[in-house]
């Protein structure tokens, strides 16, 4: 469980529109010692949270947020140099470039895989 210890003290932004999955992820990250920013279910709330937060170590983004796509959030994170990955039910082929280059975890996501992808 080296990956879990890698979470300690990390500030991780979670963007996920489904309450159950969001809470599940939040619980898991918190159990691993991370500090969770959010979770938030929409692009607007995510952008507001990013703008109002100084330190973000990483982010996990659901691509499809009800009727909108998360890409503006990804752009904002990249602009700040924050590593992020997509957690999605879509096939990798359905993710358009340049976002296609970012790590992608298929749902239901495995927290171990997420932690490894974000923090090595």
């Amino acid at each position: 469980m080296t990956s879990t210890t890698a979470l300690t003290g990390r500030r991780v932004l979670l963007v996920e529109d489904d309450y159950f999955i969001a809470i599940d992820l939040k619980t898991w990250f918190e159990e691993g010692g991370a500090e969770v920013l959010g979770p938030v279910p929409s692009v607007d709330e995510a952008l507001a949270l990013i703008a109002g937060t100084d330190a973000i170590d990483a982010a996990v983004l659901d691509i499809n947020l009800q009727d909108e796509l998360v890409y503006p959030v990804a752009d904002a994170l990249r602009a700040r140099g924050v590593p992020y990955l997509f957690a999605t039910g879509y096939d990798p082929a359905a993710v358009p470039p340049p976002h296609g280059a970012v790590a992608l975890c298929q749902k239901p996501i495995d927290p171990q895989v997420v932690a490894r992808a974000l923090f090595g």
Binding site: D18, F20, I21, D24, Q66, A94, K107, P108
Partner: protein
């Protein structure tokens, strides 16, 4: 010497007539005489033109008919024995017998028939009885026609017919035939018309072939214009030489604008390169097949599949292409929609697995492992399953708030309880994205009503009502879930069982996922839960169910 107006055959020089002498071809194909000139006037012919009878004889040879004519008993006919025939008749008969073209000589007022080998083939079953007979009796079925011929011919006139349609009985049955017929008079030693030379070339085969060709062309035109495809012909390089009316109707391009390379103007600008490449490759591969958009007159462009087969000459070189362009726009749209649907389904399925895992974990956190977990988890899975059923049918049957409420209440499987329920509100169609969370919340409310609320008390009742409000924040849906007449069992008072998972869902999940404002109030005798969620335009059907 001979009268200059009378053409005398080069008979008597032997049977070796030149077989390859050119045969004049008719210029016109009408069935009325194309040349009928009045009888020339003959001045009194010189006496010297009369020769002693029998001085000339039929040439040797002249085929089967030559032999037949020589041996025929002409004494029985008005012509008398050959030895007595005038020289003009001998010359005319020689001409006829030597000709490779079917010719019959009709001599005298009765038109006694002398014909050659070629004509005997045409005469069919009538030969050889036809020889020496009167034309009227030899061809009774066309007696009137031949009467006219004899009248004109013996008056010195000529007749010419192209593709004259006649019904003959050459083989004992009526037979429709077409003929090229040329009649010209033959003059006797006195310069008077004494007979008629009839060149009889049957054109039945050609006429029928042309008719078949016309029918086949008509069939092609019918097919080409009747099928939904746009049909065209192009040269071996892709330059168009013909387009079907469908092409003109769809593209709005006239013939003048579609021919040559004009058709490329109708191809969507983004697909012109594809079209050019396809034609370049077709020249090599001998196959043409590509998909492209085609601009329609005044409408949006549609996708077409263009295919063509090469038409080759005897040496296998491509002479032209016969092609079709088939509208595949609907098919492509369906395919695209299917791809989207498959992707959505995959997304929904994977998401659902995440939700199931989360619900299992969250349920277990409250119940611990054991019988209670099994019960609660199964209930929630059933609720999830019901909502998936609604979602899968939602394209045909939009999901309304009423449907969602009724589905969850029906799933309680408590018939007695159903009489104490009141449901009322306008038609509200829910967005697919909101349905699942909403359904899970309703499931928790319904389950609690069955286990701890309205349906446990003899006087308990449930009222679910909703309305649509316009506020400064936009349209909102206000739903009230009210249970009354509750009798709370003493053991339920501490701790209140309803502060568990269901309440958490209403107070946290709905605000999170649906931007809802919720209020949950439990008193001694009543439960009042208010759910207030944004309702963007398009989520109401307007009319009552």
């Amino acid at each position: 010497m001979q009268d200059g107006r009378i053409v005398i055959p080069a008979g008597g020089t032997g049977p070796a007539a030149d077989p390859v002498r050119p045969i004049p071809t008719p210029a016109d194909c009408g069935t009325t005489p194309i040349a009928a000139r009045p009888a020339p006037t003959h001045p009194e012919a010189p006496r010297s033109a009369r020769r002693a009878r029998g001085a000339a004889t039929l040439p040797v040879g002249c085929g089967e008919l030559g032999d037949l004519v020589r041996t025929y008993d002409w004494a029985r006919t008005p012509l008398g024995p050959i030895a007595d025939w005038p020289q003009s008749l001998i010359f005319a008969a020689s001409t006829v017998l030597l000709s490779p073209v079917p010719i019959v000589l009709l001599w005298g007022a009765d038109g006694i028939m002398i014909y050659n080998d070629a004509y005997s083939g045409f005469a069919g079953g009538r030969h050889p009885q036809l020889l020496g007979s009167k034309v009227r009796e030899g061809w009774p079925e066309v007696a009137d026609f031949n009467d006219h011929v004899m009248r004109v011919g013996l008056a010195g006139g000529t007749l010419s017919y192209r593709d004259q349609e006649l019904t003959l009985h050459r083989y004992g049955r009526p037979e429709q035939v077409w003929m090229n017929l040329d009649y010209s008079p033959v003059f006797d030693e006195d310069g008077k018309p004494a007979g008629v030379i009839a060149i009889v070339v049957e054109s039945t085969e050609r006429v029928l072939a042309e008719r078949r060709l016309r029918e086949s062309e008509a069939l092609f035109r019918t097919l080409a214009q009747g099928i939904p495809q746009l049909i065209w012909r192009a040269g071996n390089d892709g330059a168009c030489i013909w387009v079907s009316p469908q092409w003109i109707a769809y593209t709005g391009q006239g013939d003048d604008r579609s021919l040559g390379w004009g058709w490329l103007d109708a191809v969507h600008p983004d697909d012109v390169a594809t079209a050019r490449t396809a034609w370049q490759e077709a020249a090599v591969s001998g196959q043409l097949s590509y998909e492209h958009r085609l601009c329609s007159a005044g409408k949006r462009s549609r996708w077409f599949q263009t295919r063509a087969a090469p038409v080759r000459d005897g040496e296998g070189r491509i002479v032209e292409w016969l092609g079709t362009s088939t509208d595949i726009d609907d098919l492509r749209q369906l395919q695209e929609r299917q791809q989207v649907m498959v992707a959505e389904l995959q997304h929904r399925t994977r998401n659902l697995l995440g939700v199931v895992r989360a619900i299992a974990k969250q349920t277990m956190a409250l119940t611990g492992p054991g019988e209670l977990f099994k019960q609660r988890f199964n209930d929630r899975l059933s609720a999830l399953s019901r909502v998936q059923g609604l979602l899968s049918r939602s394209d045909q049957e939009p999901i309304t708030l009423r449907t969602l409420i009724e589905t969850e209440l029906a799933a309680l499987n408590a018939p007695a309880a159903q009489t104490r329920i009141r449901i009322a509100g306008p038609v509200v169609r829910l967005r697919k994205a909101t349905v699942q969370t909403f359904a899970l919340a309703l499931h928790e409310l319904a389950t609690n009503a069955l286990k701890y609320g309205a349906f446990t008390a003899p006087q308990g009742s449930l009222s679910v009502t909703w309305r649509i409000c316009q506020s400064e924040e936009g349209r909102r849906l206000l739903m009230d879930w009210v249970e009354e007449g509750l009798v709370r069992p003493p053991e339920a008072r501490d701790p209140p069982p309803r502060s568990g998972y269901g309440r958490d869902l209403i107070e946290r999940a709905l605000p999170y996922a649906l931007k809802a404002r919720t209020h949950y109030a439990l008193s001694e005798t009543a439960l009042r839960c208010t759910i207030d969620i944004p309702l963007p335009e398009g989520e109401t059907a307007g009319s009552l169910p």
